[in-house]
């Protein structure tokens, strides 16, 4: 359970929040200093990407494959999201964990365990525990929506790379942001602004993990990478892979779906 901690991650933007991949919209006001020109441009593009990915709500099914030195497991789950703040994940298979669900509203996360019929609220002692056995921690899920407040983006590269026009952003944590990373580097295609790669470096500038995006396809009327692979650097051979099977956007989801009562209902 003493898993490495990875905070603020793109995966959750996709999986849990659905829309708002980089979650960078409308929060620049909270930044202490007025953004530089460079930052403004970066923010503008990221906002555009965000718009593309953003939806008032979403629903989909995801397959998650986790490979670690000690186990390999595959899960299927259904995900819902509404706005930036609310998301729900419910496990479909394996049978043993069917209907286990995670509900996130704002900074609070609840886990429902059908076997014992209990709902458990996330506490600080569980923050760094792995989420569902994957390479993500609960902390990643909770902190994800703070990405914009915590980082200052700028464009660090524009041009051809491996035969593709790409834009590379470097996100540096704000002075006092409570994040462990030293920087996050993201690459998107210049055309269509589809994410390709996200790398996470620690404070000593050592690469800690990489997220690869691939298999772009049309889902719910949007072009999106359907495969996302997280590779921790310090654990060779391990990864967590997410395959988006179906996605739908801008649905009329009732608020009650994201309630504790609904969490327990099968």
């Amino acid at each position: 359970m003493n898993r490495a901690s990875f905070s603020a991650c793109v995966f959750l933007a996709l999986l849990v929040v659905g829309g708002g991949i980089f979650g960078l919209t409308g929060t620049a006001a909270s930044a202490p200093s007025p953004p530089s020109l460079d930052e403004q441009e970066a923010r503008a593009i990221l906002l555009e990407i965000d718009d593309l990915w953003r939806a008032t709500s979403s629903q989909g099914t995801v397959r998650m494959e986790v490979k670690t030195a000690n186990y390999t497991r595959t899960m299927r789950m259904e995900i819902w999201s509404k706005g930036k703040e609310k998301s729900l994940v419910r496990i479909i298979s394996p049978l043993k964990e069917k209907d286990t669900a995670s509900l996130k509203t704002g900074n609070t996360m609840y886990t429902y365990l059908p076997k014992t019929d209990r709902t458990i609220r996330l506490t600080s002692s569980m923050m760094m525990s792995s989420w569902m056995g994957s390479h993500f921690t609960n902390d990643d899920l909770v902190k994800e929506s703070r990405l914009a407040e915590d980082y200052e983006p700028r464009i660090s590269f524009k041009g051809k790379r491996e035969g593709r026009e790409v834009i590379e952003f470097t996100l540096l944590p704000r002075q006092d942001a409570a994040v462990v990373w030293g920087r996050i580097v993201m690459s998107v295609t210049a055309q269509g602004h589809l994410p390709l790669l996200a790398t996470y470096y620690d404070e000593d500038n050592v690469l800690a993990r990489t997220i690869y995006f691939s298999e772009v396809k049309n889902m719910g009327g949007r072009l999106l990478p359907a495969l996302l692979k997280v590779v921790p650097t310090d654990k060779p051979g391990e990864y967590t892979e997410l395959v988006y099977e179906t996605m739908r956007f801008d649905l009329d989801l009732p608020e009650s779906l994201f309630s504790l009562l609904e969490l327990r209902r099968r």
């Binding site: 901690s5 609070t108 002692s125 923050m127 902390d139 909770v142 994040v179 404070e203």
Partner: protein, 413 residues
């Protein structure tokens, strides 16, 4: 002739015996002082060490904080409490602190631990063991709103160095999770891995803000006393001050650290038991001497009684002898104990050589020097106990002397 003078003369008649007996009384004092003073020193040391680990000799806190120390339980007017406490005589320091559990992350690793949020402008190494044991850097200043001081073991686990980020996550007053960033300004090492791996000092202002506390609020005020034995008395005074408030309670170190109080109580009892046994031996020695002397002087008592001395006077004579013996013993005790005590109080015996090669493992928490410290009441107690012991030892021989009839006595010998 006065009985007292007579008793003194009797003692002086057999100087060697009297001196040897007085010496054993004196030796008893030496022994008792050794037992008690090493205990008094060790207990004072333990109590003070434990006080500087966070809670002080007295802690003023919310009544429910002790049982369930969650961060919603707080003193709203901690600063006012601090001011009042500082005005109380016998108080050498009062510090506003927030203490609680948190999750600490640095780089890609994390550990659970405990934090003590302090006001750097007020904390001194004298009242804070972690500031006393800094091995790198220094305590954050009042200007550094995000400085943190971590233990060496945690620094090792989280791969922290001076200036590095430490993210801490805790549950605020409303039960919400909050995270904040700190930067390592100092690293301490007490020598106890469980402390060095878990305790972090945080700036009070930052933690207050993070937890959503009111500007004067804190979880406790740690009060330090000149003398830890005054804890109960000063607690009484402070309780009186805040008698009308249901939100404030004052705990002595015995209450907040019942484990330590229990350990000391048990150790002290054992110490007393041993002293009692030794006291018995010494009393037996004194009784032996007096009994011998009485036996030997049966004839003498016979003559005295024949000359009109009442048996009660004989009893008193012998008791007075033991009284003189006790005084002589006390004087001798002071003479032989003083140099030993002074040596032990000033220099002490250093056992760091004897207790393993790696003394640092015990760190500051275990003092490798055996030293003396004697409370005034302990000294009085010892003197009183030795004196009474000698008198008590004289009772049996005295009655033995008084019970005999002149004729029996004269026949004997």
């Amino acid at each position: 002739m006065q009985l007292g003078t007579m008793a003194w003369r009797t003692l002086m008649r057999n100087k060697r015996r009297s001196v040897i007996t007085a010496f054993s009384v004196g030796f008893g004092i030496l022994l008792s002082v050794t037992f008690t003073a090493s205990g008094d020193y060790a207990y004072t040391n333990m109590i003070n060490t434990s006080a500087v680990m966070g809670l002080g000799h007295l802690s003023v806190e919310h009544p429910d904080y002790r049982d369930t120390p969650t961060l919603d339980k707080r003193l709203l007017e901690a600063e006012a409490v601090q001011q009042r406490a500082l005005q109380t005589p016998g108080v050498t320091g009062a510090l506003v602190r927030i203490m609680g559990q948190a999750m600490f992350a640095g780089g890609a690793k994390s550990v659970g631990g405990a934090f003590i949020a302090i006001d750097p402008a007020q904390e001194t190494p004298a009242h804070n063991i972690f500031l006393r044991t800094l091995i790198e850097g220094q305590c954050f200043s009042s200007g550094e709103e995000r400085g943190v001081v971590v233990g060496a073991k945690m620094a090792e686990k989280l791969n922290l160095r001076l200036g590095k980020k430490l993210i801490f996550t805790m549950t605020d007053k409303n039960g919400e999770l909050v995270s904040e960033l700190g930067r390592v300004s100092g690293i301490f090492r007490t020598g106890d891995d469980s402390v060095d791996g878990a305790v972090v000092l945080l700036p009070l202002g930052l933690v207050r803000k993070a937890l959503g506390y009111e500007p004067m609020a804190a979880s406790l005020v740690a009060i330090f006393l000149e003398d830890h034995r005054a804890a109960k008395t000063i607690q009484g005074k402070l309780v009186h001050l805040w008698a009308q408030s249901k939100e404030i309670t004052v705990l002595t170190w015995q209450e907040s650290q019942a484990d330590l109080a229990g350990l000391i109580a048990v150790d002290r009892l054992f110490n007393y038991l041993l002293q009692f046994l030794v006291g018995l031996v010494i009393a037996a020695g004194i009784m032996n001497t007096l009994l011998m002397s009485v036996m030997e002087r049966q004839r003498e008592f016979g003559i005295m009684m024949a000359l009109g001395m009442m048996p009660g006077q004989v009893v008193r004579l012998v008791l007075l002898e033991s009284c003189w013996l006790a005084l002589l013993g006390l004087a001798l005790g002071v003479v032989i104990t003083t140099p030993w005590f002074l040596y032990m109080a000033r220099i002490g015996l250093d056992f760091s050589g004897q207790i393993g090669t790696d003394y640092s493992a015990g760190g500051v928490l275990v003092d490798p020097v055996m030293k003396f410290r004697l409370y005034r009441e302990s000294a009085m107690w010892i003197a009183g106990a030795m004196f009474s012991l000698t008198i008590v030892a004289g009772i049996f021989p005295a009655f033995k002397a008084g019970r005999m009839t002149p004729v029996e006595n004269l026949k004997q010998g």
